[in-house]
């Protein structure tokens, strides 16, 4: 993983926090806790909050490390958090995943308040999916709660979670892509403008989004301290409960139905399907990769073959419906090894934020040990006009091993693609495909899939 470091060896996603920062030594990830944060850290560990949250699986566990501090003059302690196998971002989550992350954040805040602490951040980037569950990965997010103080992370919570969830549920599920543009969450005036007018009859959305946006505009630049005002613990609890119930009521059903079946509309026979599953299973068991990426995973049928053979897998797809279905299935199965994510392979997640270094691009989070590219090549080569040698380059940078399916022009799905466009793809043949990929890969296996015109390849990058 080429997680970006700044000149001081610190990981660039954590540079803003005066409480401490992440740094990496020989590939091991550490978090320095600064002296400034000593009281809070001690309270977290000694109040029982840490233990409670870790036991519930909502906070990343850590151990205290002997590693020398990266900036020893301000250091109180160095801790080693459990490593998250794959970092994902809110614009790559389905509706259900963002909702789970939101409810987990609020649940942590409720537990923290009971033990005299409060979250000082409610950033969606502090949540990662670990063992199938939304988990807070920033151990330094807590502050000591003083009765009377409001929730400092309230605005951030509304921007990172409530606004995008409301837009996805009530306007269009694709609006989660606003998070790719607005790194600190959807501005509330924009959310207020985009949401349907009748959301003003929903008490939670009326207050936390519409009136909130209005108040931001009205009181912009005013000194608040002069106006006084404080907030009892009971009032704070009321606020958190209101956010919980507002979010719980937001629903989005994939494709209008609970379980649409994607594979009904493909041209696969059962025999072809089973043959493909068998090959993917055998090859994964042979390779024993640490992590696999399934690119164009649909609702994750082949990702499950990989996860069942013991390999954790990231299941990427462009379709929010497929990703949501996949996520719901992960929850039903309690699958701890499969993470569904939203990704457009023709325009994968860029690196964003300060100096383009806060959030890694799709490519920077690779290469994977193994990538699956099943039934995607024709979409990339024909629908998206990418020449085969460039596809070979892309996959060679993405994974060390590749399982890729070649779908010829004679295949009915490709015929459909070509029906509406001129055939400007003379090299799109099995021979042309193999020639292009041989430049970057060694082809270990090429197996014709039973009862189909397709071929499945196992390749290793040169």
């Amino acid at each position: 993983m080429t997680t970006q470091l700044n000149n001081h060896g610190q990981l660039s996603a954590s540079f803003r926090d005066p409480s401490g920062f992440l740094f990496s030594v020989n590939g091991v990830l550490y978090r320095q806790v600064n002296r400034k944060y000593e009281n809070e850290y001690v309270r977290l560990m000694e109040s029982g909050l840490y233990e409670k949250l870790v036991k519930a699986g909502v906070l990343i566990p850590h151990s205290e490390a002997d590693e020398a501090a990266a900036e020893s003059d301000v250091s109180y302690k160095v801790i080693q958090p459990e490593r998250v196998p794959f970092i994902s971002y809110p614009y790559e989550w389905s509706f259900g995943q963002l909702k789970e992350a939101a409810l987990t954040t609020l649940s942590i805040q409720k537990r923290a308040l009971k033990l005299g602490m409060s979250l000082k951040d409610a950033s969606a980037y502090n949540i990662q999916f670990v063992r199938g569950k939304a988990t807070l990965i920033d151990t330094l997010s807590f502050e000591i709660y003083k009765e009377g103080q409001p929730w400092v992370a309230y605005r951030q919570f509304c921007q990172h979670f409530l606004a995008p969830l409301a837009l996805m549920a009530l306007k269009d599920v694709r609006l989660n892509q606003l998070l790719r543009v607005y790194i600190d969450g959807v501005p509330l005036d924009l959310a207020s403008e985009l949401l349907p007018w009748n959301t003003r009859f929903n008490f939670g959305l009326l207050t936390h989004i519409h009136l909130h946006a209005g108040a931001q505009k009205k009181y912009a630049g005013e000194e608040v301290k002069s106006r006084g005002g404080s907030m009892s613990l009971q009032a704070m609890t009321g606020l958190i409960e209101s956010l919980v119930s507002t979010i719980k009521k937001l629903e989005w059903k994939p494709g209008g139905t609970e379980w649409g079946n994607y594979y009904d509309i493909t041209n696969y026979s059962d025999a072809a399907f089973e043959h493909k599953k068998k090959l993917v299973g055998e090859w994964t068991k042979r390779l024993q990769p640490n992590l696999a990426w399934d690119l164009g995973a649909n609702n994750g049928v082949f990702s499950r073959v990989v996860s069942e053979s013991g390999t954790p897998v990231i299941s990427f797809d462009i379709d929010p419906t497929a990703v949501e279905q996949n996520y719901r299935q992960v929850k039903t199965e309690k699958n701890e090894r499969l993470l569904p994510l939203l990704l457009d392979l023709t325009n994968p997640s860029p690196s964003i934020g300060w100096a383009n270094r806060e959030r890694d691009s799709f490519g920077e989070r690779g290469p994977a040990d193994l990538a699956l590219a099943l039934a995607v090549i024709h979409h990339l080569a024909i629908s998206n006009n990418v020449p085969l040698p460039q596809l070979a380059d892309f996959f060679a940078e993405t994974a060390r091993w590749l399982v890729i399916e070649f779908v010829p022009k004679s295949d009915s799905q490709v015929k459909k693609l070509l029906a509406s466009r001129e055939d400007i793809f003379p090299t799109y043949t099995r021979e042309g495909f193999e020639a292009a990929f041989r430049d970057r890969f060694e082809i270990h296996e090429a197996v014709d899939v039973n009862e189909s015109e397709r071929t499945l390849y196992l390749m290793e990058v040169l």
Binding site: K52, R111, P150, T207, K217, Y219, A220, A235, M236, T237
Partner: protein, 58 residues
């Protein structure tokens, strides 16, 4: 209407004030609910357990 953030105007003040207003109203609701469940308690109905006291979250 403005389309770019105004550089010196911090939306934080509004967030702070609206939060106090909403929270005051909702806190009252919680207080009412608490007294109501106490009244119900006199007549033998048990209060609901808070799900966040569980050690597992769904």
């Amino acid at each position: 209407m403005h389309f770019a953030p105004l550089p010196y105007l911090d939306p934080g003040s509004g967030s702070f004030l609206i939060q106090l207003l909403i929270a005051a109203a909702l806190g009252m609701g919680i207080a009412l609910r608490a007294s109501w469940s106490r009244i119900k308690g006199w007549f033998g109905s048990k209060p609901k357990a808070d799900e966040d006291d569980d050690d597992t979250i769904k």
